[in-house]
Symmetry: C5
């Protein structure tokens, strides 16, 4: 979440549609991968220059171009020229602070989604990556912030000899990509489920200010997660009902499936928020309970020994005429008094269930 | 609710529409039951293989196929082929993490609902089971996660000689199934009503951290219940207004009845949430009250005996010239002082309503 | 509100449309009243058997049939047959856990509303009664759970010689009934207004755990009230805009009036909820305030006498060489010290506004 | 707000459309004012009887009839007959518990709004007055609960020689009235702004239970204000878009202006609610802070003097063999111990930032 | 935010459409700037009188008139007459308490937005300025409250030789202005992000009542920010979909971009509100934690020294027959008792994790 902190206003003052990479610089090597496939064929090439892409687009295969890393602005620009992509879209691709969205153009569909990776499993630190997908006729362009493994599962499955996936069109490939991205959200959901159960246990056994800090951290992640999931859900809803020329009617059902998944994630996020509110209440009341315990100990100690001290104080007085002092059994008698008072007070606190 | 925790991301990485059972493995014996009925007849058969189903579908009866247990993927697949069910639907049937939903296909209606069973009456532990219903022309297929008694009430009523139920079509049977499922929610509602009254009493008489734990548990169950009831309500609303070929116009009224029931349950769930919020406030304030009581006891004891001890301390001093010490009535006088101070302070606290 | 607790699931397992009375058994004598009226005439008869109703329905008068008490299922059934009422409607009439609703049938309008009675004025215990109204052409049927006075105001007004009410049709009579029912809600609103002011005063002067209990009780009543008022408001909204054959165009304006009233009640309920939330905050902070007061008393007592005791303790020591002990003015001097210390500390606490 | 408390249920039991004044009785003298104006003329007359109104309605002027005070039911009735106003409308005019609303009739527009006056500036006690406006062709009727100055600003402006206002139609006059009423809400808003800033300052410097009481009072006023503003906003929205024959197309823009104002007031009310919630949190935490301060004082006093008293107690023991007692420097040494212990404890609390 | 406090009701009592400057008086010199540009030309002139504007409007250039400062009512009036602007619009321009809005007139579009400047970076004091934009054919009028640099970025970019911006129409210029304004919101967002992180750290390390004051201040700014952003978002949404003659179809895409930005800001504001609520909870619980710590110190000190003092008190008694006093090892033995009791109690508190 912290990645938004310092850069959202970087472009202030620049003219619109100027191509500048806005977002975290990852310092990864820029990579261009081109995959061609049809029912029979599957070819994968890693290019060094965007100029080679043109030669690889063929009519009889579906072409998938994957750009890893956005700091090479010219690569994005070149691809934009090759496939006749609107300048504003290229600008959006380079600015990784986009909200998930869908834009329909006459010659392509532009989709922005956010893939997600759990950086730190123990602390639930989530890293979001912007994934831009452009659906043309028989061509899919995907732009990623950095090289990672989020799309590998799709490529692997496709690479399998006679994979049934290869029978479908470019829109199905787009679906596969989105499905792979959404699956990562389920992984996060599992992690949250586990985490929340652990924190709840901690709250009941040993709540510390650190627990509260962790709760606030989860809350923060949930806020950001919600801001990401909600527009993605809307996007899938539109895709499911879209009558765009780039989505075949049969494929809508698949997007409906992704839509269902996004609703489930979105509902889970809402549930977590409710549970977290409950946790805070447990935390606060457990602090109060502890304070009550402390107070009881203080009260028991004080209430027993302060009267006893007073009694001892009485016979520490130096009056000349204090007959008890001369009694033979005075001292043993006072011990009896001490013990009786103590037992009486202990019984009193026992009856109050404090001991 | 815990059953969602570990498995939602199991399918990550698998191609869509691959038939795999996603959900809790129940380890029950897989059972296939086929019921044929019309106004005169009622036949019930338990099969061991899905291949025998085909022979049992007759034109003059309504056929109801019940599958208990989903781990035998081939049974679902076979039934899918027999009745020409879409692959995505079969996949959804096997994945028991679906949201309740209704999907209209050209040759059937696909409905997912969640039936519910109270596992532990004292602790309100609820077990949800996914029930998939496929409404074809004169055929109803139901898929259950495990064998249980939720549909027995329907079968029993149907088995009665000349049962009026048998005069209606397959859509009416679907209604009966949903009605039986929704009735279980009312049983849960009764249990919740009772439970909340008990917890409220406990809160007022003897609130413990355990009470808070139970409240959080109910909250958790309510969150999950709400996530189940809300889409079911929407589903029944659509059914009530549906102009599907598989729902006769006369039957819509019945679905309207189930819709009404689901609204009532949904409203009850919302009420419980409000009441639970109130309980938390009662809990917190009852802790504060207790702390106040503790504090009062401490204050009364300290405020009475500390001054007395001071007075005793005065006459415990060893100054050579302390005239009081030599007085004949010094010691009795000091006792009078002790008693007067004590009575004054007791009166003070009495007036403050602390005693 | 408690009346819902035990019976909502009673019908679980029964076939739909079976006529069984579901609800609280009131044990009242079953009563059938038939009123005939037109501009000139007004006749009121109390029947013992439902069979006599048929003879009393005349073309030139409006007929109003009132059934008090629902445990005689055959009476409802008989009336249903006489006026050709759908079985599902009869079932709904007998089940007193309905939500307020409006159902349009080809031959009648079916309306369910909840009338209300304040059982206990001091504790705001509200008793709800289900009132089913069936509007036919020139005939109104009303079904009540038990005999009470809620409709008496309508009958009395109608009985007046040449009452202008008698000029209107059956729909106007239905309006009069609903208006009488809604008026009871205003009585409750007045009671709530008064009650809340009282509880607020109590909160500021003498908050006790019992006050909190009462607040939670009001909250509970408000939740139930809201669940009753909201669907009634929707019902009146629909009636106001209805183009049913059973509502004359001129009468819609009257239903608009009832709709306005229901909005006002509904808004009042929402306001009470807000106020009650505020009360809880006042309660919690008043407890905290009290604890603070307790603490201050403890602190003042301890902080003054503990130092004094220490000083007395010094001169209670038995060192052989303690020159002060031998001073002629030692004892009086120590009293000066006691008094100076006490005054200094009192001044300190005075400056802190604790005294 | 308190004015609603006792009277909302007064009309229970009366037939609808019976003309009875429902609301606070103000005891003011009933006044009838008639104003005639056109571009050249401006005439203002105060009448004693409603019968004189008829003679004053002329074709070439716009006639404005103002009724101050509603207890003379016959005046309202007479005016109703003169201008052919529906009975239900007359009833609504007399019942001052209406919600702001707009009703379109074939021969007039009926508008109910609430004007407002700050009775007590220091305590923000707001008095609402119901203002009924009837817009006919060239005639405006306004009904007020009591004589006050809310409309004076409109009359004064109109009375000015050649006032441009007089060029417009009756709908513009209605706009002027509503604008004058809404302006009063801005005055209240200014007062609230000021008040909330003051209360916030008080909360930070010297929070008392009285502050809390004031906060609850503001909350209560805001709830009522919101209930008044929201329907007025809706009313203006409808007026702005109305295609009623009584609103000229050019005038809609003016109503749009009033609509804008009402949105701003409505938004301000929502902001206040948020701020007030924040105030409560400040209050609660400031109480906790204070308690913490009290506790620290107690702890510092006790923790310093209790150990010292113990040390003094040791040398107050009467053992025969206590060598220290005989030491020449025993007594001065014990004083060193007292001072060292005190300094050490003070340093400890200093390091904790308690002093 | 404070600028709204004192002036919203200033115009009460004035006739509508009277031109008066309502808002903060800035005391700046009134400035009129006219910019003419087309693909080749760029001319910028600063005028002293509004009369010179007319001569500068040419057909072959786009004319941009910027008014800095609104207290010279005649300048606004003159410009209004020159371009035939409706009187109500002029009135709105002069009243700087408008909500952001869009009004379509036959001869122009009128847009009100709020630009924003961070006055104090450390305390997040935001200053809002009303910016009125009138879009005519080839002419843009902008009215600002005071001279500042918010539009300089647009002018500078335009002044660049052959700037591509100059190829677009007047609507594109309007877009540039709005984009520049919205960019300032992102700067504020960055500042909020930073600020909230800082306050959260402060809360966890050293929460003071001042922290709470700051939180309430942020809350207040967020409420005002939200009231500004929400209508701006709605405005951009309308512009994006507008089919006004003054917005070319190609330009809508650009307004869509501004709309996206405004959604992001709006979502960020909502997130901050959630985070701030969490902060308050952290604050409250951290106070409770501190109190608990205080209490523990008190309890440990009291519980150890009070029993010891009692024991010392016993042997300070003056009974004649106290055998222990005469024992040779009595005094050393009592020291052993002191040490054993102390160690036992320290061990007890150690086990409780209090030390």
């Amino acid at each position: 979440m912290s990645k938004t902190s310092h850069t959202v206003s970087v472009k202030s003052g620049l003219p619109p549609a100027s191509l500048v990479h806005v977002g975290e610089k990852h310092g990864y090597v820029h990579a261009i991968t081109v995959i061609n496939y049809n029912t029979e064929t599957f070819r994968k090439k890693t290019l060094t220059s965007i100029d080679e892409v043109h030669a690889l687009v063929t009519d009889d295969t579906i072409t998938w171009v994957i750009i890893d890393g956005l700091h090479d602005v010219r690569a994005v620009e070149g691809l934009g020229q090759l496939f006749n992509i609107d300048g504003l879209v290229l600008e959006d691709i380079l600015n990784t602070h986009q909200r998930p969205k869908l834009e329909e153009y006459s010659n392509f569909l532009y989709i922005v989604i956010k893939s997600l990776a759990l950086v730190n499993h123990r602390k639930i630190t989530v890293k979001y990556e912007q994934l831009s997908i452009i659906i043309l006729k028989n061509v899919i362009l995907t732009f990623k912030e950095k090289p990672d493994t989020v799309l590998d599962v799709v490529i692997e499955r496709m690479a399998v000899e006679n994979s049934p996936i290869r029978q479908y069109g470019a829109d199905y490939l787009a679906y596969l990509i989105m499905d792979a991205v959404v699956d990562e959200y389920f992984t996060l959901q599992d992690r949250f489920d586990e985490f929340i159960v652990n924190v709840e246990d901690e709250l009941l056994t040993n709540p510390t200010p650190k627990t509260l800090y962790i709760i606030q951290k989860i809350k923060r992640e949930l806020i950001y997660l919600r801001r990401t999931v909600t527009p993605m859900r809307e996007l899938f809803k539109i895709l499911q009902r879209s009558n765009s020329a780039f989505i075949q009617e049969d494929s809508r059902r698949y997007f409906g499936d992704v839509y269902d998944h996004s609703i489930r994630i979105s509902e889970a996020v809402d549930s977590y928020r409710d549970l977290i509110t409950g946790m805070l209440d447990i935390y606060l009341s457990s602090i109060s309970n502890k304070m009550n315990e402390t107070m009881k100990i203080l009260t028991v100690f004080s209430s027993i020994f302060i009267p006893l001290t007073f009694i001892a104080g009485i016979y520490g007085m130096n009056f000349h005429y204090m007959p008890e002092l001369e009694w033979r059994w005075g001292y043993p008698a006072i011990w009896v008094v001490f013990i009786v008072v103590t037992i009486a007070l202990l019984a009193y606190f026992k009856r109050k269930n404090w001991l």
